[in-house]
Amino acid sequence: MSLVGPSLAVSALLFAIGVLGVLVRRNAIVIFMCVELMLNAVNLSFVALSAAYGLSGQIFVFFVMTVAAAEAAVGLAIMLAIFRHHKSVDLQNINLLRG
């Protein structure tokens, strides 16, 4: 039996857990970690399909990792700036853009 189907199922489950974290939690850093979890889940499905269809999937995972690293650096810098201003990273206190 090939591992492609089970990998896609695990990837779907991890993605759903990541979405749950983004929707339910309030701490901005934990939400950020859940976004990383979603990126990882998608990477798993890329790798699973590349095991069946060729290497482009793995190269795409490489690019996703680069973008995720850049995103983590910039995102955490933004969080530091927000914390310096609001003394908190709780998203309920940061609602300046609300209409």
Partner: protein, 190 residues
């Protein structure tokens, strides 16, 4: 045997991911996320993507998570009194995720034959010799065998530095922009 090992790592990955969401202390969340990422690396190894697995451990479990822990400890975030959204938003979130998961789970029944049937109405694409990926130069060979024959890093390097050279160079510009952006944002005064 491979399958049992795969299911073990899959179970640990899913449980750790659940604990990332459930833990109230951000540092505990970060450590469970490291556990998820290590399990994913193990699954990459089992799927014949050894290079990606090593990069996953080095870049994600190593560099990115150290950055997260560093920021959490720098901001001195402890246990918040309550870290969940209020009742209506919370329930809507759980409902949406239930719908999403139930829609995505049928992917578990995926096979080559089914994908080929759905896209072309014929099973011709299901044979390993016919692929719709230009990086598969060795036709008529199953990807795992082809990787064994060519070696793992060389297998990735050839398309990365030929076919995908321009995107690869563009990522270096992206990383430079990210470094400059992070310094500008985090500095008090420039």
């Amino acid at each position: 045997m491979t399958e049992q090992v795969f299911w073990f790592f899959a179970a640990v990955a899913v449980v750790s991911a659940g604990l990332v969401v459930a833990m109230r202390n951000p540092i505990a969340s970060a450590f469970w996320l490291v556990s998820t990422m290590l399990c994913l690396a193990a699954m990459f190894f089992l799927l014949n993507a050894q290079f990606i697995g090593v990069v996953q451990i080095l870049v994600y479990a190593g560099a990115v998570m150290v950055l997260f822990l560093f920021v959490i400890m720098l901001l001195n975030l402890g246990r918040a009194p309550s870290d969940l959204r209020r009742a209506p938003a919370w329930l809507v979130g759980v409902l949406l995720v239930g719908v999403l998961a139930s829609q995505l789970m049928p992917l578990g029944g995926y096979t080559r034959e089914r994908l080929a049937l759905e896209y072309t109405r014929s099973t011709a694409l299901a044979s390993p010799g016919v692929v719709f990926d230009s990086t598969m130069s060795v036709t008529g060979m199953d990807p795992a065998t082809a990787t064994l024959e060519r070696g793992v890093p060389g297998d990735i390097a050839a398309p990365l530095f030929q076919q995908y050279l321009v995107p690869f160079e563009l990522t270096s510009i992206l990383l430079l922009a990210a470094i400059v952006g992070a310094v500008v944002l985090a500095k008090r005064r420039i």
